[in-house]
Symmetry: C4
Subunit: 210 residues, 4 copies
């Protein structure tokens, strides 16, 4: 085990992220070893879940150190295939400390029902769970992107959209899943629960009103 690896095993955020992984797996939001999580470890670095691991059975050594100071991703191991999108989010906002990517049935289904590149939630008290939103009465937008196997391209599209306006602590990739982030693992978890709740409500409402 190298020094970097030893170091991050003592990281309390790494231990917290593994516990959060078990909580998320119990909600069935990361089936079939899907999904990936990260926490920032420096201005140009993060710990990212290794590829192919069951996210309900993580231990700190399953978090791989990734850095991007030189503009290219470097990592001693095989981090998640979607690491480039995590890294881009950390670059877009220095306040971001954690990124969670999940695959729930409702988020996946909802992402395919909506063909626009953004969906406005309105009239839900739960909108206030997403930081910066203070009333059910002010619409709260969730960005959607088409899925692609070219993650650097997806990361670039996210960055372009961000230039127009910072995204609302989450985004959906169509037929793929949900990304959320926060200024702490706890805030990222709150954004995950908040967006999942809003998506779930809207899906049930559509069943009853369309």
């Amino acid at each position: 085990m190298n020094n970097t690896a030893q170091l991050h095993q003592l990281n309390p955020n790494a231990i917290a992220l593994c516990a959060l992984g078990r909580w998320i797996a119990n909600r069935h939001w990361v089936p079939a070893t899907g999904g990936n999580f990260s926490i920032r470890s420096g201005e140009y670095s993060a710990l990212v879940t290794a590829s192919g691991k069951d996210k309900g059975e993580l231990s700190p050594q399953d978090l791989l150190p990734v850095s991007w100071q030189d503009g290219k991703l470097s990592c001693p191991g095989t981090p998640s295939a979607e690491t480039a999108l995590h890294a881009r989010l950390y670059q877009l906002d220095p306040a971001i400390k954690a990124v969670l990517h999940t695959h729930s049935v409702p988020a996946t289904v909802f992402s395919r029902l909506i063909s626009d590149d953004s969906y406005l939630f309105h009239g839900y008290e739960m909108q206030k769970a997403i930081s910066g939103n203070s009333s059910h009465d002010i619409p709260c937008a969730l960005a959607l992107f088409d899925n692609t196997q070219d993650i650097p391209l997806l990361a670039q599209q996210v960055a372009q959209r961000w230039q127009q306006q910072p995204l609302n602590w989450g985004l959906l990739v169509r037929g793929h899943g949900l990304y959320v982030w926060g200024r702490s693992p706890d805030e990222a978890k709150r954004h995950l629960e908040g967006w999942e709740f809003l998506i779930n409500c809207e899906l049930e409402r559509l069943k009853l009103t369309r």
Copy 2:
């Protein structure tokens, strides 16, 4: 820690309310730190959950003492933003000992489907879980209110409706969630399960019959 705080940590009802919070969180009825709970501690006082806490991880010191003897809320801390509604319920009926406010997907979706200010449940044996209802054959009303960020205004609307007729141990705030209460924490829990069950059944029935 002040004397008041020390005192309520020994309160067996406070310990029971924390355990009830874990049970409710396991049902996914208080996502994203949402919801709030209280238990009466005196004629003009209650212990109310602190703002922003995960309701599945409460300990007695997360319950803040609130009093309203002088007509204004006073509290050494930041209790839930919806404390004014809890306090009003305790004032409306001295027998009320516990108030629970939850955010389930079915209750939230149902509250937006119904535009009337009351919904009559009829033909469910489970109506008997709501105190004072003795037969599936007698309609059982659940009051609905529009959501607002002005909680004292909402509390006033609830009080006005109550003058016409005491509410049926629960109410829905549209797009927001469910409030229930009881003469003990156990009765409040039974009312919570009963109303959630009835709402859930009616939502599934509407999917199949509308």
Copy 3:
């Protein structure tokens, strides 16, 4: 504690029934202290759950001894209001050793959708979970009864229907819930899971095909 009570606390079936209650409560099939369970203790007697108890928190002393040798129910305590139907089932078939009554959302909703007094399940492998059914290809009937607060009347209607043909190890009371029984607690549990599965499948299928 009287001798009868002491005796049934040593009954391994009573301990098994309490454990089964926790399993059933975890499925959310007995919300709001609803539902009731019993096990036969003799030719004319059974242990029946006490009224108003949370069925996920039973201990053997919450099972009350009930007897009906003289044609009338006798019990030192307040057993479930629906004890008369349990007793009738034990009388209808001496092989019955356990009766379980539950309140799931799907069973309750399904019971209100079907206006006939019987529903035929067909084409499900799971029909074989109900004793005496050996193929998905032979229809398997579930009897339905209108709800009433007059339990002796309901028990009489069940007995009348049974004279025409023994019921298929379960029945639905409309808007109320499911009764199942078996020649052992394990068989009653299998019938509970089997009927709940079949009802759930048919409800989902109706959403997609009506």
Copy 4:
């Protein structure tokens, strides 16, 4: 206990399969003692779950040694009625090390909605959870077969279909359930979660789009 039985109790794969059974039972995918599991123990042999056991309560002695070297199944005990299909799958591909058969509500309902003998999943990132599928953009086929009580006949139909093209690590039996397999118990589990997720998504999407 005979030597064979003693031997397989020390098999770490047998212990892993029992643990996997508890995980699957917690998802409610093997209700009413339904479903069956096996792991390969040799070129012409496997350990198969005994008939009628609750799959959430397996211990290694509930796995029975089955062999088929002479073309006929032989087993000292009563293995699952569907053992012949497990054996056929092991014969069709020597790389297969584990077979899981489950009865979920969504898989059962979906299997009855689709009257074709194959269904193409398209546009889901989760298709990549099924080995050999590398993009959401390449359709991924799930084979369907009519149910029958004649398991050797079903096994023969599966083998015939396989000759045209190896199946995609899973198949549905109409009104019955899902079979999945893998080159390890972990891969079989991933295929189970992946197919269940895809079926669930498609069922929810059909509710909203048909």
